[in-house]
């Protein structure tokens, strides 16, 4: 394996990590407030297509990025309406959001398949640092979304753990009646968390369509939204661990298309002779294995999941 290939692998690791981290961070916010949203895949698809179309129209990747976030928030809003305000089953509503979101994205984007926007996100060479051997390319010559994701991760950690709003959000995820009794609006907190989470997922989708795989094709999210959902469990609902998990999954996602070109032998098998379709199962198998290991570790301890996760709240029925 050449040096350039190795650096390329880690550059891609950071980018894939950013992709799943952004989406998972949004899901983390919603889940900390007690709302499971299985619609991440659909919200990402909607973000990807709407970001891409705005990018085509305006030529501004940032306008596209924020438009995608707004669309993600809107799509998340549907989940908030149905599962938070009306109290319907969160699993059902989230799944419908994924199926409907994928369908709607396919429909909305049917005329822009194969087009290519003129301006995409460009790598941000940070003066002085980008030239450092190896590390420069991996850490200091990435698109701006990567650094934004780091900032957002810090911001979410700060808000959740160091502010009154964060305390209220975490409280509503542990026990809605208690939070209600204290005088916070359960509905506003939860609906807000779901919509912010949707904005993160939508933004992640546009990072996909405006940088990582410029363009729009049906099914381009390809299960990354689901990996983001799993990542929240891996991260034990904490932003810091989420970032670590994102790097691990980012590495796997980056490794998979590159294994083809690596002339190495693993367990007596020539890696570059394995079919790409088979290598494609790697991130998904890893997810299952990781989930099993985590549950094994927590088998004698209480789960770190928010206690009220998945439970709708109706004041009249407490």
């Amino acid at each position: 394996m050449s040096e350039a290939a190795l650096v390329g692998l880690f550059v891609a690791t950071v980018q894939f990590a950013t992709l799943v981290f952004l989406a998972a961070l949004g899901e983390l916010i919603a889940e900390r407030a007690g709302v499971l949203n299985l619609g991440v895949e659909g919200m990402m698809a909607m973000g990807a297509v709407s970001g891409f179309m705005v990018g085509l129209e305006t030529g501004s990747p940032w306008a596209a990025f924020f438009a995608a976030a707004a669309v993600g928030a809107l799509v998340g809003g549907l989940h908030a309406l149905v599962s938070v305000l009306l109290g319907a089953d969160q699993v059902v509503s989230g799944l419908a959001l994924t199926i409907g979101g994928l369908g709607l994205a396919a429909y909305v984007g049917r005329n822009v398949v194969g087009e290519r926007p003129e301006t995409l996100f460009t790598d941000l060479g940070i003066a002085g640092l980008a030239d450092i051997r190896w590390f420069g390319d991996i850490f200091f010559n990435q698109p701006p979304v990567v650094y934004l994701a780091v900032l957002l991760g810090l911001a979410v950690w700060f808000v959740l753990t160091r502010t009154r709003l964060g305390l209220a959000l975490r409280a509503v995820g542990e026990s809605a009646p208690t939070t209600d009794a204290v005088g916070h609006s359960v509905m506003a907190l939860r609906a807000g968390a779901v919509m912010v989470g949707g904005a993160f997922a939508g933004a992640a989708g546009s990072f996909l369509s405006l940088y990582m795989a410029p363009g729009w094709t049906e099914g381009m999210v390809a299960g990354r939204g689901w990996i983001a959902v799993a990542l929240v469990i891996f991260g034990a609902w904490r932003p810091g661990r989420l970032a670590l998990g994102a790097l691990l999954f980012g590495f796997t996602l980056a490794l998979q298309p590159r294994l083809q070109s690596f002339d190495i032998e693993l367990l007596g098998v020539q890696v570059n002779r394995i079919s790409p379709a088979l290598l494609g199962i790697l991130p998904f198998v890893l997810t299952v294995v990781v989930l099993v290991i985590i549950s094994w570790r927590y088998r004698h301890r209480p789960s770190p999941a928010p206690a009220a996760l998945g439970l709708p709240y109706r004041r009249e029925e407490r």
Partner: protein
């Protein structure tokens, strides 16, 4: 500030879910109308074409049944797990696994007479679905790993494996370079009913009936539902939750595997990576609409089969078939919302959450009384 609060109705609307389903269909059609209108199509023409393609004439009905069959089977698969409060999101993958094993059997035992070969394929299909479910089921029953994500992840695994088989080991040498698997032997196709419908539809109906009775009328079914709704009671009654979780999930996987085998011997000609065609995912909506009841699964699967046939037919009008995915999700959203309003009514409540009508009156005057009702 006066806020709306949802209050459970004393008298529930009769046949709530059936009515909610109809409301869901209506809501989806209205939304579809707006979508079609704004993208420059003539909604009336599109809907007419969809209706004709799905219902008018025996050929159309046969097509609808052909599509409804895998939907009913995957819907049943999801519902069996769902009657215990478990979510099998991976019926799509188990369907693929079932079809793959069945196709493997057909390749190695292609000398067998038709009925026998089909029987073996179907049994092995069930086993294939169960095998893919085994990991998630054990992880759930013994470690409490959420079956939602594990079952879903294996969908991608199953589809990729079929892609691999297509391009590599099972590639048909007589396919002129195309990456396809050889067709299943001729004697291994299910007898037809009429049009494109085959007896797979009857298999699905029969299974729905069996499970409908098993879940609602047998001790086994009662224990299953009890274990789902009140695990502590079930444990106290001596029911092994682990075993119940395992059986429910494995059965669910097996039925989805059966759907794969039926699809392979029924309307498909060969194993291909598009064989599951979203049926497993749509089956989740079907089961959710049916509130996990097998009888409802039949009705929802029929409607969804029609929506999908209709969605295919409008491509000739230049309308994307993605419309049918949107309609399916919207039917569920509409039904979910309608069901809430059938079970609850809105009461306008005062600022501190005072729900008593006296306070409402004091805060907001007489307006609230009209909504009060009771």
């Amino acid at each position: 500030m006066i806020r709306p609060v949802l209050v459970r109705r004393d008298k529930v609307v009769p046949a709530t879910q059936a009515v909610a389903f109809v409301v869901g269909i209506a809501a989806a059609l209205v939304l579809g109308l707006i979508l079609l209108w704004t993208s420059g199509h003539n909604p009336a023409e599109v809907y007419e074409r969809m209706f004709d393609a799905a219902f008018v004439g025996t050929d159309s009905l046969a097509r609808t049944l052909e599509r409804a069959t895998p939907l009913a089977l995957t819907g049943l698969a999801v519902a069996v797990a769902g009657s215990m409060g478990l979510w099998n999101i991976g019926a799509e993958g188990q369907m693929m696994a079932g079809a793959t094993i069945a196709a493997g059997v057909a390749m190695t035992a292609d000398g067998l007479p038709g009925p026998l070969l089909i029987a073996v394929m179907v049994v092995c299909g069930v086993a294939g679905g169960m095998v893919l479910m085994l990991g998630p089921a054990l992880a759930r029953s013994h470690l409490g790993v959420s079956e939602i994500i594990t079952t879903l992840m294996l969908v991608y695994v199953a589809i990729r494996v079929v892609e691999w088989l297509e391009t590599g080991p099972w590639k048909d040498p007589e396919s002129f370079g195309f990456a396809v698997i050889e067709p299943v032997p001729e004697q291994a196709s299910l007898p037809g009913l009429f049009g494109r419908a085959n007896i797979g539809t009857l298999i699905a109906l029969g299974l729905l009936l069996v499970f409908s009775l098993a879940v609602s009328r047998t001790a086994w079914g009662y224990e299953l539902r009890l274990a789902g709704s009140s695990p502590n009671t079930a444990r106290y009654a001596g029911i092994s939750l682990r075993r119940k979780v395992l059986t429910a999930l494995l059965l669910s996987g097996g039925i989805a595997g059966l759907a794969g085998a039926v699809q392979l011997t029924g309307s498909a000609t060969r194993l291909e990576s598009g064989l599951s065609n979203g049926y497993g995912f749509a089956g989740i909506i079907v089961a959710a609409l049916a509130l996990m009841r097998p009888s409802g699964v039949a009705a929802a699967a029929f409607v969804f089969g029609a929506v999908q046939v209709g969605g295919q037919s409008i491509q000739t009008l230049g309308v994307s078939s993605a419309i049918s995915d949107i309609l399916q999700a919207m039917i569920l959203f509409g039904a979910l919302m309608a069901a809430v309003f059938f079970n609850y009514r809105i009461r306008w409540s005062g600022p501190a959450g005072q729900a008593s009508s006296d306070d409402d009156q004091a805060e907001a005057g007489d307006d609230t009384m009209a909504l009060e009702g009771t």
